[in-house]
């Protein structure tokens, strides 16, 4: 595509369109969030104070302050929500890995005809409405829900179990919603694995379990990392699941941000919460991009 009449200009145009789009609608907004996190809330339109003021000089004067961050640090609510989100996201990721790895392995080693069908079964829920799938769990888990009714009907329990609106249901919801995100990169990795390495290990007298631990597992590390990041990062900021399946004590940072914005209408504090969350997520996002780039055939 280098030498044609449209050569250079066509190429530049092809890069420029998505590049500009992402600069304006993805990167610039983050700069605004950062700016606003130094502002003060006002009852006005827009509801925040100016952070920079033109005072006639060459550069605008910075008139913002760090009070929003000081506020976040002074209130246990925010710190607890922050730590809670990390904990919930971390354990959910490990649970997804524990369930997803054997599934991805099974699909990758399944006979050819089965493989596409099984893969399709993993992808399908990922395409169907996330909100509806989370909603489906409410009907199953609530006090007079399907699960409790079945267990009482079978005589296993007398009193309905409290399994909705607590940490358990939030874990369940996250693992359920994000499991396909774990399985797909793992599958992609395992399916590509060179069979001859495994055969070599077996020929050399390696037991299947040992082969798995010392050959398959290390080779699948990129898949493990990619899948884990795809679960962990969005799970930290999850809003819908803690809102619908969580209880009043399930504090998560995504829900806090939502409430600051929609209920308290405090845009500057909501921005500070967003920045605090981003600081936490920067390293996982960079790790994810590194592995994602490798998987996608980046030119190095």
């Amino acid at each position: 595509m280098k030498n044609g009449r449209f050569g250079i200009s066509g190429r530049t145009l092809a890069v420029a369109a998505p590049y500009l789009w992402l600069l304006v609608f993805f990167l610039a907004p983050f700069a605004i969030v950062l700016k606003l996190s130094f502002a003060e809330p006002l009852i006005a339109q827009p509801p925040y104070s100016a952070v920079f003021e033109w005072t006639g000089g060459l550069l605008p004067r910075f008139t913002g302050n760090f009070e929003n961050y000081a506020f976040l640090l002074s209130d246990d609510l925010y710190i607890n929500a922050y730590l809670n989100s990390i904990q919930i996201a971390l354990f959910s990721t490990l649970l997804c890995l524990a369930i997803g790895y054997p599934m991805a392995y099974g699909i990758a080693r399944a006979p050819g005809a089965w493989r596409n069908a099984l893969l399709m079964l993993v992808i399908l829920p990922f395409w169907t409405s996330f909100l509806i799938r989370v909603y489906a769990w409410i009907g199953i888990l609530k006090n007079n829900g399907i699960l409790n009714n079945v267990l009482i009907g079978l005589g296993i329990i007398d009193e309905p179990l409290d399994i909705l609106h607590n940490h358990f249901s939030v874990y369940l919801g996250i693992v359920y919603s994000y499991l396909p995100f774990m399985i797909l990169p793992l599958y992609a990795n395992l399916a590509r694995m060179d069979e001859s390495l495994l055969e070599a290990a077996a020929d050399l007298g390696c037991r299947p379990w040992k082969t798995f631990v010392s050959v398959t597992l290390p080779l699948s590390l990129p898949g493990i990392v990619a899948g884990s990041m795809l679960v962990f990062i969005p799970a930290v900021g999850e809003f819908v699941i803690p809102e619908l399946l969580g209880g009043p004590d399930t504090l998560m940072i995504g829900k806090i941000l939502w409430n600051e914005f929609f209920q308290n209408r405090d845009w500057p504090v909501a921005s500070a919460v967003a920045i605090a969350m981003l600081v936490l997520l920067v390293i996982p996002i960079v790790i994810f991009q590194h592995y994602q780039g490798k998987e996608a055939g980046d030119v190095k």
Binding site: A14, P18, W21, R133, N149, V240, I285
Partner: protein, 272 residues
């Protein structure tokens, strides 16, 4: 190939799929429940589907969502394909690292952050909120997903056909349209479908950038779900699941058949 599958894998697969599908199956089952409860069976009925047809609010929101989703899918497929080419075929160019970052971060960025950030941009530049702002916000994250799908396809394709066309004197644009686009077709269609469903599914970002005017389907569903479960939502969920399943199965079958034909063509060509 079969050697590696143990009883443990098979059990995990069965349990895993039961876990993934049981809630959906129960959702569908109780959409046909005659009673108002979604947990106690009281006879078969399709009345909730009927009520859905008369629910102006839901129908209107569905229409808004479908319009946004189709504009979004089309724009995201174009921008996402360009992104994929820029990243996989154009080698190095200035600002590539930043571009890669911007094209992959939306895949994992929590919705609450993206939603807030995009809203602040629109407020900052004084853009009236409504359908246009939702569509723009959706295109931004959808294009990243399209790029992943198209990149995978580009990486797996034999591009010697493209080179052959150029050698035979085809201009780059013509080569792209005649050779590259048909080869990429499966990825373009799945990218379009994925962007469409992502948009149809988004609650959080749309809630932030919508403003008072426009309500999408997930926003209406969410406000209803907050008040409690209702068989009407089950019926709506069932329709969504069925439509998505049918689309995906059709797309997958068509492409599998195409791939098989191409594989046969390749074999024939090699035999000469």
């Amino acid at each position: 190939m079969n050697r590696g599958v143990s009883w443990f894998n098979v059990t995990m697969l069965i349990l895993g799929f039961v876990f993934l599908y049981a809630p959906i199956a129960l959702l569908i089952l109780f959409s046909f429940n005659a009673g108002k409860l979604v947990s106690v069976w009281s006879g078969f009925s399709t009345k909730w589907y009927g009520e859905l047809l008369y629910n102006e609010q839901i129908l209107q929101a569905a229409w808004v969502s479908l319009k946004i989703a189709s504009i979004n899918a089309t724009a995201a497929t174009i921008l996402g394909t360009l992104t994929a080419f820029a990243l996989n075929r154009f080698g190095r160019f200035r600002g590539r690292t930043l571009f890669t970052g911007m094209a992959t971060a939306p895949l994992v960025m929590p919705d609450v952050i993206t939603g807030l950030a995009t809203l602040l941009l629109f407020v900052g530049i004084g853009w009236a909120r409504g359908m246009s702002t939702i569509t723009i916000a959706h295109i931004t994250f959808s294009l990243a997903f399209v790029a992943v799908i198209v990149r995978a396809r580009i990486a797996s394709l034999d591009m010697s056909l493209e080179e052959a066309a150029m050698d035979l004197g085809a201009r780059p644009l013509k080569t792209f349209i005649v050779i590259v686009v048909p080869l990429l077709a499966p990825a373009l269609v799945s990218g379009w479908l994925l962007a469409f469903t992502l948009s149809l599914d988004d609650l959080v970002i749309a809630s932030f950038v919508a403003g008072p005017g426009a309500s999408t389907l997930p926003m209406v569903v969410f406000s209803k779900v907050r008040l409690g479960v209702s068989p009407e939502i089950n019926a709506l969920g069932t329709i969504i699941v069925l439509v998505v399943t049918i689309c995906i199965v059709i797309a997958a079958t068509v492409f599998q058949r195409q791939e098989r034909r191409r594989a046969i063509d390749d074999q024939m060509a090699q035999r000469g």
